[in-house]
Symmetry: C2
Subunit: 204 residues, 2 copies
């Protein structure tokens, strides 16, 4: 079984990065984290990567004159690793069409809501404030819209009568940490087949 | 246990009406259908009601000069029945604020998607075409937006790999027919407490 090299982009805490590291170390996920790149040098996720001897890079967006220049630097870091899949794990920069086209159907994101409900930031709070009875988590491929790309997996998280924003947030994150490795594993097994905006999962 | 008189508005087939009739007859739902009103005289739901000796009325919207006049006629039909809850069951007319304010938090609707995803018409097809992995059904109170009112209950319907629009539609409808009577029963038990745009279910 081949292990596709992953390039993971972070900006902060990196709890989904940790979930991916753990899934690889326990043998659940057959992939290799080639490198972790942060646009912020103080991102705690960098420490997580170092602890597991994963190469890290800091590429500060403010050091570049444009989004395109910043992304060109990302691509230059990724290229020697022969990255097959880019994983967004709390990466707080919008990607341009230029970057997205460089990795067609090869950029994965996780969103803490049942898309297309509650796109954008603060999705868990959006759902909580709206008063939904069910929310969830979506893993999707990146396209040129905001949280609009083809959906790979979704899992639901029912609200409980006594939920606070905090208790709901905790359950949603726990689901994220299971779902993201599952979606990456499907990629590693070459079981994702994209048809238009639908993702078929082969042999499921 | 008191049985709140329901006024049910239909425009067509009336399969949710049938589910409500069945839930009452099997003792699952403690409510009384006071009358069924259709804006179309050929609506098959009228026949369903007649079969169960439920009073029916036809109020054709095109017989009235304005939405307000049409709705005034609806209210005049409902008033003698002392309707406590208006149930929209495939009623294909938009209601004006005037009507909605006449029955504050007393108009219920069912929507074949997990709102706020896929509001408006053809919701099942919208979800199918989008490529979601989970859709569902929402019962909500009517407010002055389109499918934006406070949510009472939601149930999920996972997509299957070999789903067609037809097979998905069938499963969504089956869930509707269970969920709508459940939501009405919560109303009958006076267990719905509206706080802003959230619906708390007491003693759950």
């Amino acid at each position: 079984m081949k292990k596709p090299p992953l390039g993971i982009l972070i900006s902060g805490h990196g709890s989904n990065l940790q979930a991916i590291i753990d899934a690889i170390e326990t043998g659940f996920l057959s992939a290799k984290i080639a490198c972790v790149v942060s646009n912020k040098k103080e991102a705690y996720g960098l420490k997580r990567a170092e602890k597991h001897r994963i190469p890290t890079h800091v590429i500060r967006h403010q050091d570049y004159p444009s989004r395109e220049a910043f992304e060109k630097a990302l691509i230059q870091v990724f290229d020697p690793y022969k990255i097959e899949l880019v994983i967004l794990a709390g990466f707080m920069r919008v990607l341009t069409p230029q970057f997205i086209r460089h990795y067609p159907h090869r950029i994965m994101n996780i969103h803490p809501a049942l898309l297309p409900s509650f796109p954008g930031v603060e999705a868990i709070q959006q759902a909580y404030d709206y008063g939904v009875k069910v929310t969830g988590v979506t893993v999707h491929l990146i396209d040129e819209g905001t949280d609009t790309g083809p959906i790979i997996l979704q899992t639901t998280v029912p609200l409980k009568p006594d939920d606070t924003l905090e208790s709901l947030t905790e359950r949603v994150h726990a689901v994220e940490h299971k779902l993201y490795p599952q979606a990456i594993q499907l990629f590693a097994e070459e079981r994702l087949e994209i048809q238009g905006r639908k993702v078929l999962i082969k042999d499921s």
